[in-house]
Amino acid sequence: MAARIQIPREARRGEVIEVRILIQHPMETGYRHDDVGHLIKRNVINVLSCRYNGVEVFRADLSSGISANPYVQFYTVAEASGDLEFTWADDEGQRGSERQAIVVKG
């Protein structure tokens, strides 16, 4: 599962930073049928979480109402240099993760 993360490379301590993530995933709703009429099993990313230096700063329980290739954006406060690590899992048990570093000054 490919994903893109966008956070500022550098921030001042205490600054509010924008965090964006885009994950490639079909987000199969479970309501669609295939070419021969069988129901396609639901398979969506059901949990997405972000840890900032090990502390969870964001968590979302996604469901079938979210479109394919979900895009999520939130804000957090830059406190210390380190990593933002995203992890997510879908209904089939597939897991994905991606991390990016940030340098905090001041």
Binding site: A2, R4, L22, M27, A68, N69
Partner: protein, 256 residues
């Protein structure tokens, strides 16, 4: 004298060609002009545009050695040399004399140069490579040539564009030349330009090629869909490129 006469004929042909355009160059509008502001903003956001997932994948594939020759695209082509290339497709392949779209060009390179299997139409890899290549021409005006061997394909494409089809008995021109800008149920009819493809369509919830879009139109007018890569689509793609001449490439576009 003879040269002068030829020049006069060429000039007359040029004038005739200009008159054939149903939409004047100054009136050309990309499909994004018919979108809501939200989708237009999504397309213009280099990060959030979901098509960029395919562009990124395409960049990886571009650098990955493949086939019997264990050669990557990047092994022969310098990155900067791809700038503007997509804007000239569909194009006649000099060696075979055949008309190729970007997908066909990629697959020909794969089979002839690096000894790899051709990629299947609408496969993630072919969409990714095509999107990556077209992205290198972002902003370049479409400039497909209809001279020489391409002329016959152009004429066939034009005939195909104007052919009434399907249960609704409509040609492409009935909507995209005569009715663009008007409403069809909740949507505004676009001019039907190819400059954003491969594009991410909300209806598909994924990336798709121009041919997939053509098939969707054919299905919409309840006409028979042709197989991917068929000659009629290629000819039509050339006609569409000529029709959109001068419009900047927007790949990966975001569409309804």
């Amino acid at each position: 004298m003879r040269r002068l006469a030829l020049a006069a004929v060429a000039l007359a042909a040029g004038v005739a060609l200009a008159q054939e355009r149903a939409i004047a160059p100054g009136e050309l509008k990309s499909g994004s002009a018919f979108l809501g502001s939200d989708l237009r903003a999504l397309q213009n956001d280099d990060f959030a545009n979901p098509g960029m997932l395919w562009v990124e994948r395409g960049e990886k594939l571009w650098r990955e050695p493949a086939g019997k020759e264990n050669l990557a695209c990047a092994g022969c082509h310098k990155d900067t040399s791809m700038r503007g290339v997509a804007a000239s497709y569909p194009k006649i392949d000099k060696a075979s004399g055949k008309l190729l779209n970007l997908e066909g060009r990629i697959n020909l390179c794969r089979t002839e140069r690096i000894g790899a299997e051709p990629l299947r139409y609408e496969s993630e890899d072919l969409l990714a490579l095509t999107a990556y290549l077209a992205r290198q021409s972002l902003g370049a005006p479409i400039a497909a040539s209809i001279a020489g061997a391409a002329r016959a394909h152009f004429e066939a494409g034009r005939a195909s564009y104007h052919l009434r089809r399907g249960q609704m008995n409509l040609s492409c021109a009935h909507c995209h030349d005569a009715q663009w800008g008007k409403r069809l149920l909740s949507e505004t009819i676009s001019q039907g330009h190819p400059n954003a493809y491969p594009a991410y369509r909300m209806e598909w919830q994924t990336m798709g090629s121009l041919e997939r879009r053509l098939r969707a139109c054919l299905s919409g007018i309840r006409a028979e869909m042709l197989p991917y890569g068929s000659q009629e689509y290629l000819d039509l793609e050339l006609y569409l490129a000529w029709r959109a001449q001068g419009l900047p490439i927007e790949t990966p576009g975001v569409r309804r």
